[in-house]
C-alpha cells in the first residue's frame, strides 16, 4: 500500500488525464495512425489531437476521477 495521504485534486486530475490519454491512444491507435498520415496533419496538429482527446476527461466528475485513479494506488 502506498502512503495514506490523500492526493490533491490537481494531482488526481493530472493522473487521470494521463490515464485517459493512455487508454484513448490504445483504443484508437489505428485511427490515430491514419490521422497522422492525413494531408492536413501539420506540425501543430499533434497538440490539437492531444487536446481533443483529453477533453473527454471533463465528462468525469472529480469524484469519479479520484475513484479511478485511487484504484491504482491500492494495487498490491
Amino acid at each position: 500500500m502506498s502512503d495514506s495521504k490523500p492526493k490533491s485534486q490537481q494531482e488526481v486530475a493530472s493522473e487521470f488525464t494521463s490515464y485517459y490519454l493512455q487508454r484513448a491512444t490504445k483504443e484508437f491507435a489505428e485511427d490515430l495512425d491514419k490521422v497522422r498520415t492525413a494531408d492536413d496533419f501539420k506540425n501543430d496538429a499533434i497538440h490539437l489531437l492531444v487536446n481533443a482527446l483529453q477533453q473527454g476527461t471533463a465528462l468525469f466528475s472529480p469524484e469519479e476521477q479520484r475513484r479511478i485513479v485511487e484504484t491504482a494506488v491500492e494495487k498490491k
Partner: protein, 1192 residues
C-alpha cells in the same frame, strides 16, 4: 515662402539636379572644444559648411550615445566626460537669456534649418532633425540639462519650426531620409521629460501629426528584412504614434483614435512588420488604450473596429521569428483575448443572452392571444432560424475570419467570446455554413469536433437573458437549440459519425452528445423553474410549451436512440473508454428524455450480462496476474469498466422488464447473483457504492430480505458475511455461487412459500418474528439436501459449513429473530457430517451499526459511500407534500391526442402511402372520427375508405394490413351508426379510435412485439364490437408470446387506453362489468404489481387522472373501485422500499417522476384531486366519513 519654393522645386529643373547631391557624403571634423563646436554650427549661408558642421556634431553625439559605462575603460570614460562637457558648454553658451515660451534655443541650428527650407536643400532638411533627435535623446539621459532639452522642444513648437516639420513630414514618399529623422525627432520630443510637452505638441497636431497615416504606409521594400538600424518611415511613424499614445491625455487619445486613416494604417501592413515592432504595437495599444480606464469607450471602439481585429487575427499566421522575443501568434492571441472578452475594452457589448437584439423578452402579449395561440402569439418566436440580429456585430465579423478547426488558440478565442457573448453562438453557426461535420478521419475534422465539444460544454447564460431573474417570455426555441446542438451537429451528420467505421469518430460524436443531453436537461429544468408560475399562470404554460418544443427539436436534431444502441453494441469489448461513454449517453437518454429512450424497446440485459461477465473475467485475470508479474492488467481499467456497469445498472432500473433472477445462455448465474459476485470479489480499493445500492434495491423489491422499515439492514447481511469469508478463505466463496443462486431464484419465485416454511419452523403465532427473518434462510434449508446429493457436494458443503454460521450470525446481529435462526441452524446442521458447530458466530461488534471499521480489506472507501446511501434516512413519506394542482397537471395531464385538426381531411390526399403511414397523416384522419361534428365524421369516414383503397393499390410493404385496419374501422363505424337513429349518430367510442391510431404504428413495424396480436385481431371479423376494448384481454392476461415483451406491450396498451378515455361514454366502457372484471379494476391490479417500473405505474395514474376530469369520474373511482384505499396501499408500499434512484434528484415538480419522493407526492396529489372533484355528499355517505378522514 518655403512652401512656394518647395512647389517650385517639384516643378523646376533645379531640384532634380540637387536630388543627386543626396549621395554626396558629407565632410566632417573631430570636435575638441565647445568653442569649435559653436563655430561649426554657426549659421553660414554656405550650405556645404553648414552640412560639415552638422555632420561633425552628429559624429560627436553618436559617440556619446554609443558609450557604455559598464564596459568602457577609464580612458574612454574620461573621453566621454570631456565630450559631454563640450556639448554642455555649447548648450549653456547658446542658451537664450530670457527663458520664456518665445525664446529660441539653438538659434544657429534653427536658422540653418530655416535657410535649408528656403533654398530647399534636402541634405540639410534631413541633417538638422537627425542631429536634434540625437541631441534630445542624449539630453533625456541628463537631469542637469533637462531644462535646456525642454527649451529645445518648445522651440520646435514655434511657428517657423512647425512649418518645417509639417513640410518634412509631408515630403515626397520616396524621401524617407527626410521623413524618418523628423519622426524620430518628434518621438524624442514627445517622450522628453516624461511627456512634459506632449499636450502642447498635440495642440499643434496639424503640423506634428501631418501625413501620419500616409507615413505609416511607407514600408520597407526589398527581399532582405528591414535593418533595425535603418528603420522605414512606417517603423518610425508607428514608434512616434506609440510614444504619443503613451504620453497623451485621454481626451487627446480619443481625438487621435478618431482619425480613421491613422487607425486603419496602424495595422494595414502589420503582417510585414518586424517582430519587435509588432510586439511594441500590441503592448502599447493594450497598455495605453485598452486597459487605460480613463480612455473613453468610444475611443477604444474606434481603434478596435472589425478591420483592426481581423488584421491582428491575421497574426495567428505570422511567420517571422526572433530568438529572444516572445512568439507573435501568442502575443496576438493574448491581445485578442483581452480585447474581445473584457467589456471595458470597447469591443464587447452587453447582450441579452439567448434573446436576440430584436426580441423583447418582456413584451406584453394579450392573455387572450396567449391562451389561443400559445407560443405562436409571440411574434419573434420563430423568426431567428436563418438570421440572428446581434449587438456584437464587430465580434461577429471577426469570428467569421477565424479557423477554429485548425488552431487551438483560435478555438479558444472563439469559445471565450461565446462565453461572454452567448448571442454569438447561434449567429456564428448560421453564418458559417461552409463547414460541415461530415465525418472524415483528418486533423481538421478532429479540430472541429474539439471546437464543437467546447462550444456545447459552455454553460447556458444565467436565466437565459443574463439578467437577475427570468424574463416574462421564454427565449426562441431555435436559439436555445443552437446552443445545445449547434447547427453543424444535425441528425444526418451525427448519425453518420456514430455509424462510421472509424471508431474514434463515433467516440468523439458520443462525447459531444453526452454534453448536449446534459445541457438539454439543464435547459428544460430552467424552463420548468417554479419562478415562472409566480408571475402569472399564462407564463407557466408558455414556458412549459417551450420546453416541450425544445425536447421535440432536440429529438429531431439528435440521432435516433436505436442508432446509439447499435453503435454501443458494435464497440469492441476492450474499448473501455468508448464503452463507458456510449453507456453514459444511453443512461442520460433514459434520465432526461425517457419518452424517446423507452420507445426503442432496448433490452439492456444482454449488455449488462456482457459487462458483468467481463468484470468477473477481469477479476480472475487479476488473480492470475498477481501471481505472475501483475503488469498486464491495470486496476484502473477495472474501475472504468465498473463505471460502464453502473450506467447499465441505471438503465436497467429505468427500463421495464429487467429480469434479475433468470439465468441466461451467457451467464451461468442470474444477473443478480453475478452482480453480487462482482461486488464480493472486486479488487480492493474499488468503490462499489452504486453496485451495492442496486443490490439493495433489487433485493428489497424482490422481497429476498425482510422489509426495511423494521430497521433491517437488507442485503448488507449477506454482503458482509461474504466479505468476511472472502478475506479468510476465498476458495470457499467461489464454490458457493451456484448454490446461492438457486436459493435466491427460488426465493423470488415463491416468497410466500418460504415465509410459511419459517412459520412452521418457529413457535406458532409468532408471525411478527417470522417476518423479520430472511426468506433466504428457509430457501437454504430447503435446498441443502439437494446440495448434499450433488456431484461436487464435498466442496460446496465445506464452503457452506464456513459460510452458514457467519451468515446466520450476522442475521442475528441485524436484529432478526434469534430463536428462529437457532432453530434454522439446528435444522441445517443435520445435513453436515460433522454438524455446523455449537452455535451461530454472532459478530461481537455490531456489524451494521459500525460497519465502517474496515473489517475487510478495501471496503473502506465503499463504506464511506455507504454512509450516504444507507445512512440516508428513508423518508417515511409522511413529510412529503402532495403536488399542488398545477404540478399535478404538469405531471399527469397529457394533451388529448384525438383533438380534431380538420385540415387532416385534405392534407392526406397529396401524400404518398409511406408518408400517410409513417408521418401520421393516416392517424390524424382516423382521429377525426372522434369529432363532435357529424359532418366531419362523415367526411372522415369517406376519406378513410378512399385512403384504404389508395393503400391497397400501392406498393407499400404492409399495405394489406393497413387496408384491413382502415376498412374494418370504417365498417365498425357504419355498423355502429346503423344501430342508432339517423338524426343522432354518436361518434365511435374513443377507445376504438385510439386503438386504430395506435395499431397503425404497430402494423408499420413488423418487429413490434404486438404485431402478431394485432394481426390476429384484425383477421377475426369484418368489424369490431364497440362495447369491447380491443386487445385489452390479450395483453393483460395472455402470454406475451414474444420473449419478455410483457411490459412493452402493457406500455402500448396503457398509452392507447389513455388516449381512449375522453368522454363519459368512454368512462362507461372502463367501468362496465366484464368476464374478467371491469377494466378499471384490472388496471388497478396491474399497477399493484411491485415489480412494475415507475413510468408504467405513472401511466396508470394518468388514466385515473384523466377519469377525474370526466363528470362522475372521481365518484365512480371512489365508490366502485375503492381507489382511495388503493392509493393508500401504494403509499404504504413506497414507504417500505429503498429507492434506487433516490440520489438522482427529484423531478415530480418539474414534470418527470424519478424518485420515490416524487411518486409519493404524485399519489398524494391525486388523492387530493379525487377528493376535490368527486360528489362529496355521495362519497361521504358511502364511506361514512372515512374518505375525508384519509384525505385530511
Amino acid at each position: 515662402m518655403g512652401k512656394r519654393q518647395f512647389r517650385g522645386a517639384e516643378n523646376g529643373d533645379g531640384p532634380r539636379k540637387r536630388q543627386r547631391v543626396v549621395h554626396e557624403a558629407p565632410t566632417s571634423e573631430v570636435i575638441h572644444t565647445s568653442r569649435q563646436l559653436r563655430q561649426l554650427l554657426a549659421f553660414d549661408p554656405d550650405l556645404g559648411h553648414s552640412r560639415h558642421g552638422l555632420q561633425s556634431f552628429k559624429i560627436l553625439l553618436d559617440s556619446l550615445l554609443a558609450r557604455d559605462d559598464e564596459t568602457d575603460n577609464a580612458e574612454k570614460r574620461q573621453q566621454h566626460e570631456q565630450r559631454f562637457t563640450i556639448i554642455k558648454e555649447y548648450l549653456q553658451s547658446t542658451k537664450p537669456i530670457e527663458d520664456d515660451e518665445s525664446a529660441t534655443y539653438l538659434p544657429d541650428i534653427m536658422q540653418t534649418w530655416s535657410h535649408a527650407g528656403q533654398v530647399n536643400n534636402e541634405n540639410l532638411l534631413s541633417a538638422v532633425p537627425v542631429v536634434l533627435a540625437l541631441l534630445l535623446k542624449l539630453l533625456s539621459q541628463s537631469l542637469e540639462l533637462t531644462p535646456i532639452g525642454l527649451g529645445i522642444c518648445r522651440t520646435l513648437l514655434q511657428k517657423r519650426q512647425q512649418e518645417l516639420i509639417s513640410r518634412s513630414l509631408s515630403a515626397d514618399k520616396g524621401k524617407a531620409f527626410i521623413i524618418s529623422p523628423t519622426l524620430r525627432m518628434l518621438r524624442e520630443a514627445v517622450c522628453f521629460d516624461g511627456g512634459a510637452i506632449a499636450r502642447p505638441m498635440f495642440r499643434a497636431r496639424a503640423s506634428m501629426l501631418k501625413s501620419l497615416a500616409r507615413n505609416m504606409g511607407i514600408v520597407h521594400i526589398g527581399e532582405e528584412p528591414e535593418d533595425i538600424k535603418k528603420p522605414s518611415p512606417r517603423t518610425n511613424a508607428l514608434q512616434f504614434f506609440l510614444s504619443a499614445i503613451k504620453y497623451l491625455h485621454p481626451e487627446a487619445k480619443k481625438e487621435l483614435l478618431a482619425q480613421r486613416d491613422v487607425v486603419t494604417a496602424l495595422t494595414r501592413d502589420i503582417k510585414q512588420d518586424q517582430p519587435y515592432l509588432v510586439l511594441d504595437l500590441l503592448n502599447g495599444l493594450r497598455d495605453h488604450v485598452l486597459l487605460d480606464s480613463k480612455v473613453p469607450r468610444e475611443a477604444k471602439s474606434n481603434l478596435l473596429n472589425s478591420t483592426t481585429l481581423i488584421k491582428i487575427s491575421g497574426l495567428y499566421y505570422y511567420r517571422l521569428v526572433s530568438d529572444n522575443l516572445p512568439s507573435i501568434p501568442d502575443a496576438a492571441h493574448d491581445f485578442l483575448m483581452t480585447a474581445c472578452t473584457n467589456p471595458s475594452c470597447g469591443v464587447l457589448r452587453q447582450d441579452t443572452g439567448l434573446y436576440p437584439r430584436e426580441a423583447d423578452p418582456n413584451a406584453a402579449i394579450p392573455s387572450a392571444d396567449l391562451e389561443e395561440l400559445g407560443l405562436e402569439a409571440i411574434v419573434w418566436m420563430n423568426k431567428f432560424k436563418t438570421e440572428v440580429p446581434v449587438r456584437n456585430f464587430v465580434l461577429s465579423n471577426l469570428l467569421q475570419n477565424l479557423r477554429p478547426w485548425s488552431s487551438l488558440k483560435q478555438s479558444e478565442l472563439i469559445t471565450s467570446i461565446f462565453k461572454v457573448a452567448p448571442e454569438l453562438i447561434a449567429d456564428f453557426f448560421i453564418k458559417n455554413k461552409s463547414f460541415t461535420f461530415e465525418p472524415k478521419l483528418s486533423a481538421t475534422w478532429i479540430g472541429y469536433a474539439a471546437f464543437l465539444f467546447n462550444t456545447v460544454a459552455l454553460p447556458l447564460p444565467e436565466y437565459f437573458c443574463r439578467g437577475s431573474g427570468y424574463a416574462e417570455l421564454p427565449p426562441p426555441t431555435s436559439i436555445v437549440m443552437d446552443n445545445i446542438l449547434p447547427l453543424p451537429l444535425n441528425q444526418k451528420a451525427l448519425s453518420r459519425c456514430l455509424t462510421n467505421k472509424s471508431r474514434m469518430i463515433s467516440f468523439f460524436a458520443t462525447r459531444i452528445l453526452i454534453l448536449a443531453v446534459q445541457k438539454l436537461d439543464t435547459a428544460v429544468k430552467m424552463h420548468q423553474d417554479p419562478a415562472h408560475s409566480s408571475k402569472s399562470h399564462n407564463n407557466q404554460t408558455l414556458w412549459t410549451e417551450a420546453a416541450r418544443r425544445l425536447v421535440d427539436e432536440f429529438c429531431q436534431r439528435s440521432p435516433g436512440i436505436k442508432e446509439m444502441i447499435n453503435a454501443y453494441r458494435s464497440i469492441p469489448e476492450d474499448d473501455l473508454l468508448h464503452r463507458e461513454a456510449a453507456s453514459q449517453l444511453l443512461r442520460l437518454y433514459y434520465e432526461v428524455i425517457p419518452q424517446v429512450a423507452l420507445m426503442a424497446k432496448f433490452d439492456v440485459s444482454p449488455l449488462l450480462e456482457t459487462a458483468l461477465k467481463r468484470l468477473s473475467t477481469q477479476e480472475r485475470q487479476k488473480e492470475t496476474d498477481s501471481q505472475e508479474d501483475g503488469s498486464e492488467n491495470d486496476p484502473r481499467d477495472f474501475a472504468l469498466s465498473l463505471k460502464e456497469l453502473e450506467n447499465l445498472l441505471a438503465i436497467a432500473g429505468y427500463s421495464p422488464g429487467m429480469r434479475w433472477f433468470a439465468a441466461t445462455e451467457q451467464l451461468t448465474l442470474s444477473p443478480f447473483t453475478t452482480l453480487l459476485k462482482v461486488y464480493v470479489e472486486a479488487p480492493s480499493g474499488v468503490s462499489l457504492a452504486p453496485v451495492r445500492q442496486v443490490l439493495h434495491f433489487v433485493a428489497a423489491e424482490q422481497q429476498v430480505v425482510p422489509a426495511k422499515d423494521k430497521g433491517h439492514p437488507g442485503i448488507s447481511v449477506l454482503l458482509e458475511s461474504f466479505k468476511e469469508l472472502q478475506t479468510s478463505s476465498p476458495a470457499c466463496v467461489a464454490v458457493l455461487w451456484p448454490f446461492l443462486d438457486k436459493c435466491l431464484t427460488r426465493c423470488t419465485t415463491a416468497p410466500v412459500k418460504y415465509l410459511e416454511m419459517l412459520q412452521d419452523l418457529g413457535a406458532k403465532g409468532a408471525e411478527d418474528e417470522v417476518l423479520t427473518v430472511s426468506p433466504l434462510v428457509a430457501a437454504i434449508i430447503e435446498q441443502l439436501p439437494f446440495a448434499a446429493k450433488a456431484a461436487d457436494s464435498k466442496s460446496t458443503l465445506d464452503g457452506l459449513s464456513r459460510f452458514l454460521p457467519r451468515f446466520l450470525g450476522y442475521s442475528a446481529a441485524a436484529g432478526e429473530s434469534k430463536p428462529l435462526l437457532e432453530a434454522a441452524y439446528a435444522s441445517m446442521s443435520k445435513h453436515f457430517a460433522k454438524g455446523l458447530g455449537k452455535s451461530l458466530s454472532v459478530p461481537k461488534k455490531h456489524p451494521f451499526k459500525q460497519p465502517k471499521g474496515g473489517k475487510s480489506t478495501g471496503t473502506k472507501s465503499q463504506d464511506t459511500n455507504n454512509t450516504t446511501s444507507e445512512g440516508k434516512k428513508i423518508k417515511s413519506g409522511d413529510d412529503i407534500a402532495a403536488l399542488n394542482s398545477d404540478q399535478l397537471e404538469r405531471v399527469l395531464d397529457l394533451p388529448d391526442s384525438l383533438a380534431a385538426d380538420n385540415s387532416a381531411l385534405v392534407k392526406w390526399q397529396s401524400k404518398s402511402v409511406d408518408e400517410l403511414v409513417d408521418e401520421g397523416y393516416a392517424i390524424s384522419l382516423i382521429s377525426l372520427l372522434a369529432s363532435e361534428h357529424a359532418s366531419i365524421r362523415k367526411e372522415a369516414l369517406i376519406n378513410i375508405l378512399k385512403m384504404a383503397s389508395k393503400v391497397q393499390q400501392s406498393e407499400y410493404e404492409e399495405k394489406e394490413q393497413i387496408w384491413l385496419l382502415l376498412s374494418e374501422l370504417a365498417e365498425t363505424a357504419k355498423v355502429a351508426a346503423a344501430s342508432q337513429p339517423v338524426s343522432a349518430v354518436a361518434p365511435l367510442p374513443s377507445t376504438i379510435i385510439a386503438f386504430a391510431c395506435h395499431a397503425v404504428n404497430v402494423l408499420r413495424d413488423p418487429t413490434h412485439s404486438l404485431y402478431p396480436k394485432v394481426n390476429s385481431f384484425l383477421t377475426r371479423g369484418p368489424f369490431w364490437s364497440v362495447d369491447r376494448v380491443p386487445l385489452a384481454d390479450e395483453v393483460l392476461s395472455e402470454e406475451p408470446a414474444a420473449g419478455d415483451s410483457y411490459y412493452a406491450q402493457l406500455n402500448w396498451l396503457l398509452a392507447y387506453l389513455l388516449d381512449g378515455l375522453r368522454t363519459s361514454k368512454d368512462l362507461e366502457l372502463f367501468h362496465k362489468k366484464r368476464a374478467k372484471g371491469p377494466l378499471f379494476e384490472r388496471l388497478l391490479a396491474v399497477a399493484g404489481n411491485p415489480y412494475m417500473r415507475t413510468p408504467l405505474k405513472i401511466q396508470v395514474i394518468r388514466i385515473l387522472y384523466r377519469a377525474t376530469k370526466i363528470e362522475e369520474g372521481s365518484t365512480t373511482l371512489v365508490t366502485r373501485f375503492g381507489v382511495v384505499s388503493w392509493l393508500e396501499e401504494l403509499l404504504k408500499m413506497k414507504k417500505s422500499l429503498s429507492p434506487m434512484a433516490q440520489s438522482q434528484g427529484g423531478g415530480a415538480g418539474t414534470g418527470t417522476v424519478v424518485t420515490t419522493e416524487d411518486e409519493v407526492a404524485v399519489y398524494k396529489g391525486l388523492l387530493k384531486r379525487i377528493w376535490e372533484t368527486c360528489d362529496r355528499e355521495r362519497v361521504e355517505g358511502w364511506s361514512k366519513g372515512g374518505v375525508e378522514g384519509v384525505i385530511a
